[in-house]
């Protein structure tokens, strides 16, 4: 359908092959990997950072980034937890309230980037601290525990005893986002905006509104991730999952999202998330130390980026050649 297939298409193929390779290797090396319990536990684990990765995706396509996703997720879960504990008559408001917090936080990020023209990386670094700070003030430090049973039941609920609810949620959000990016004017515009914001302005793309929308979408998905975490760990904490942030960026890069903007697919994110989850579980089953995970992930990131820099003919060269064209 578009130019992404020129460069990202082959990348996706490679990523798919890599994922499959990891899967087959682990399945052969360790029979425990294919056990129902392991598959199920993976199904509960990866949707959390999978959702966070999906949240960052649209912002990276516009050439920005959202570093505040984890903080937004935590703040949303804290607000939801507080609402639940406020009494059974308002408890039903918990989920909408959490999601609304996400949208507001995201729109705030978008405002900083679009209207105050702060560099996204700094704006969201600042708001990350801000949101975490608000969370700490609400909780006064310790985690909020003792959530109603009906909510924590979500966290362990499976469809047909096999499909964990978080996994289903991840699949729904992934397809929804994919649809948004590929089949709606907003999705197409935000990709083109990422490719060249100046040209987008001259083509009549309403850049500021678009950016606010994009970051609000990111905030919404992040809040959803927060609600999933809340159900699974049964507590809301202002500094939960701080190591997720770098993992989420790693997934986006691995997924072939171009940091400069203009390229990125949901398919890539899904593959990258699954691939990393396989590796992580595999290391676990093969009883490597937990610390080796960072080493493998870091190594993989460097390897993928170097491979792409060396072999994928990103059209910088062609571009420069054209620039040298006489006028």
């Amino acid at each position: 359908m578009d130019a992404r297939q020129d460069t990202t298409g082959s990348h996706l193929k490679n990523l798919g092959v890599l994922t499959l390779l990891v899967f087959v290797t682990l399945a052969v090396v360790s029979p425990a990997f294919l056990s129902a319990s392991n598959l199920k536990s993976m199904g509960f684990q990866f949707p959390e950072f999978g959702l966070l990765s999906l949240a960052v995706l649209p912002t990276m396509i516009t050439g920005g980034i959202d570093l505040s996703v984890v903080a937004v997720a935590n703040l949303a879960s804290i607000v939801a937890a507080v609402t639940m504990k406020a009494g059974p008559e308002v408890a039903w408001l918990a989920i909408p309230a959490g999601l609304a917090v996400g949208v507001v936080c995201g729109a705030f990020n978008g405002f900083l980037v679009a209207y105050l023209r702060l560099p996204p990386i700094l704006a969201t670094l600042g708001s990350m601290q801000l949101f975490a700070g608000i969370g700490i003030i609400i909780t006064r430090g310790p985690a909020i525990t003792g959530l109603p049973d009906w909510y924590t039941a979500f966290g362990n609920w499976t469809i047909g005893g096999m499909l964990p609810l978080p996994l289903v949620l991840f699949a729904l959000v992934a397809s929804g986002l994919a649809f948004l990016l590929r089949r709606t004017p907003v999705g197409l515009r935000l990709r083109l905006f990422g490719a060249n914001p100046v040209a987008a302005g001259f083509a009549g793309v309403p850049g500021k509104k678009l950016i606010v929308q994009t970051y609000a979408i990111a905030g919404f998905i992040a809040a959803l991730a927060g609600l999933v975490v809340l159900a699974r760990v049964n507590s809301a904490n202002a500094d939960y999952g701080s190591s997720y942030l770098l993992l989420v960026i790693l997934i986006n890069i691995l997924a072939g999202v171009r940091p400069a903007g203009g390229f990125g697919t949901v398919t890539g994110i899904v593959l990258a998330v699954i691939c990393l989850q396989f590796i992580s579980s595999g290391l676990n089953i093969l009883s490597f130390s937990a610390f080796s995970r960072d080493l493998v992930f870091g190594g993989l990131l460097i390897a993928v980026m170097s491979y792409r820099a060396a072999f994928a003919p990103f059209d910088v060269k062609a571009f420069l050649k054209r620039k040298a064209h006489p006028s």
């Binding site: 578009d2 990709r191 490719a195 001259f202």
Partner: protein
């Protein structure tokens, strides 16, 4: 051909330089010589190959054939070597570091060519101060360059070249952004330096200055030297004729006269501080109006203001007789105004994205129902546009960066034609487009205007304005100074009007 200015052997020789980009020949067997203390003008229109020739000279671009000799030694294609050999090029944007002070800018190049390991602050500052004194220029060496007016930046750029012991200074359009008195001052300095044996190569298309300062002139047209010799041997008329030639694009396109209609857009007393003042114009359906002016005349700002990209601070804009105020470009687009920007690579196109997306981006609403894009409809519209405008590509999925200049420009045009504009504003519609495509694009615009669209073209390409327009407005220093019927004006008259600067 040798000249009378120096008599000695030339210090710079360019011999039979040839350069092509893909199938487009940009330079064909161009030769050029420069003696000590000689001031030569390299004249030519846009797209004649001047810029490329300078890039070959400075070593930024490698020539396909031919050689450059400095002081008799062959120069390799390497910018560092050229600088070390005493050649300095001052580009139109001066390439200064705005955040650094005047002396840092002047001393910087020297530090690089001397391969300083440590920053020699004292020595570099002294060098800068001495150089400025030698030029008899009064600029505070500690001011950051961004605080200086354009004319002073120009002088800093020259000082930088001199501080680096430049013997040859190449200046690309040195006076476009300067006022008359500033130009006079600049020419004084050139005169002084000339006596020290510094040679200059001026790239210019301003006839007045060519005569005021140059000893010799080389005229380029379509990549070859069409005229060369001492300035005394020419008059302005011959020079203009040599520059413009009588090529395909200077002939007026045939057209039917459309009946006069009430204006679609009318502007009165429009002004924007520091860019343009008191602009009155009316754009009618079925008419092509060109605004001709030099770089810095306010032509681009005027066009962008009509597109809502900039806000005027005086005057009124009326559409169909009703006053409007554009919040930004989206509201102008909603009124049916379209704008093709000057630089299609940075402002016009999403280079890395597909041709289809580039064409349909501004008219997504047409193929959207219930917030969902009709992928098939978009593709179909893009394919139809590619066929209509004869864009040479196998399909609409490749990135637009893969197309040639002329085809890229058609993509931008296609984008706006999909939008069915009532007014199409084009800024430099055929810059960097080959002659054949240029003609095609002109024909396209004429037929578009005859079908009832108002067309406004902003250009500094005089033959283009005459070939294309019904009416030509001349813009000088932010004012519309003259208006011509395009069928009745000749290039020389127009040219003289465009370069006239004493009307303020």
């Amino acid at each position: 051909m040798n000249d009378e200015a120096s008599g000695s052997t030339p210090i710079l020789q360019m011999q039979d330089i040839r350069k092509a980009y893909g199938s487009v020949r940009v330079l064909e067997d161009v030769s050029l010589e420069l003696g000590a203390g000689e001031v030569r003008c390299l004249a030519g229109e846009n797209g004649s190959g001047k810029s490329t020739l300078i890039k070959v000279l400075s070593g930024v671009v490698r020539a396909d054939a031919g050689q450059v000799r400095l002081h008799g030694r062959r120069l390799s294609s390497d910018p560092m070597a050229a600088i070390a050999a005493g050649l300095s090029v001052i580009y139109q944007d001066f390439s200064l570091f705005p955040n650094l002070s005047v002396w840092e800018n002047i001393g910087f190049l020297r530090s690089v060519t001397c391969e300083d390991v440590f920053h020699r602050r004292g020595a570099r500052r002294r060098l800068a101060v001495d150089t400025l004194r030698r030029m008899q220029v009064d600029i505070d060496p500690d001011t950051p360059v961004e605080m200086l007016p354009v004319a002073s930046k120009q002088l800093v750029a020259i000082a930088r070249a001199l501080a680096n012991q430049a013997r040859i200074i190449v200046m690309d359009e040195p006076t476009t952004a300067l006022t008359r008195s500033e130009v006079a001052h600049l020419l004084d300095i050139v005169e002084t330096l000339k006596k020290d044996g510094v040679s200059f190569l001026f790239v210019s298309h301003k006839i007045e200055e060519v005569f005021a300062v140059c000893d010799t002139v080389t005229v380029l047209r379509d990549g070859s030297v069409v005229m060369e010799g001492p300035i005394g041997a020419f008059d302005a008329g011959r020079l203009v004729e040599a520059m413009t030639g009588r090529s395909v694009d200077s002939q007026r396109l045939p057209r039917e006269q459309s009946p006069p209609q009430p204006p679609f857009l009318e502007v009165s007393g429009l002004g924007r501080r520091g860019e343009f003042v008191d602009v009155n114009l009316a754009l009618r359906p079925g008419e092509i109006v060109s605004v001709v002016g030099l770089l810095g005349s306010g032509r681009t700002e005027l066009a962008q203001t009509l597109f809502g990209y900039m806000k005027p601070d005086a005057g009124r804009i009326e559409i169909d007789g009703k006053p409007v105020a554009f919040g930004d470009q989206t509201s102008a687009i909603a009124h049916g105004i379209a704008y093709v920007p000057e630089d299609r690579l940075t402002e016009g196109l999403f280079l890395s994205q597909s041709i289809a997306d580039n064409i349909t981006v501004s008219s997504l609403g047409k193929s959207t129902s219930f917030g969902i894009l009709g992928a098939a409809a978009l593709l179909q519209r893009a394919r139809a546009a590619v066929q209509n405008l004869r864009i040479k590509t196998p399909d609409v999925t490749p990135a637009v960066a893969t197309l040639s200049g002329g085809n890229q420009q058609r993509v931008v045009l296609a984008r706006w034609m999909e939008h069915d504009p009532k007014l199409l504003i084009l800024n430099g519609p055929t810059v960097g487009v080959d002659v054949g495509s240029k003609r095609d694009i002109h024909e396209l615009l004429v037929s578009l205007s005859r079908s009832g669209t108002s067309v406004m073209v902003v250009t500094d390409d005089i033959p283009e304005a005459i070939a294309l327009s019904d009416r030509i407005l001349v813009m000088v220093r932010g004012r519309i100074t003259a208006s011509f019927d395009a069928a009745a004006v000749d290039e020389d008259t127009l040219y003289n009007e465009v370069i006239r600067e004493d009307r303020t």
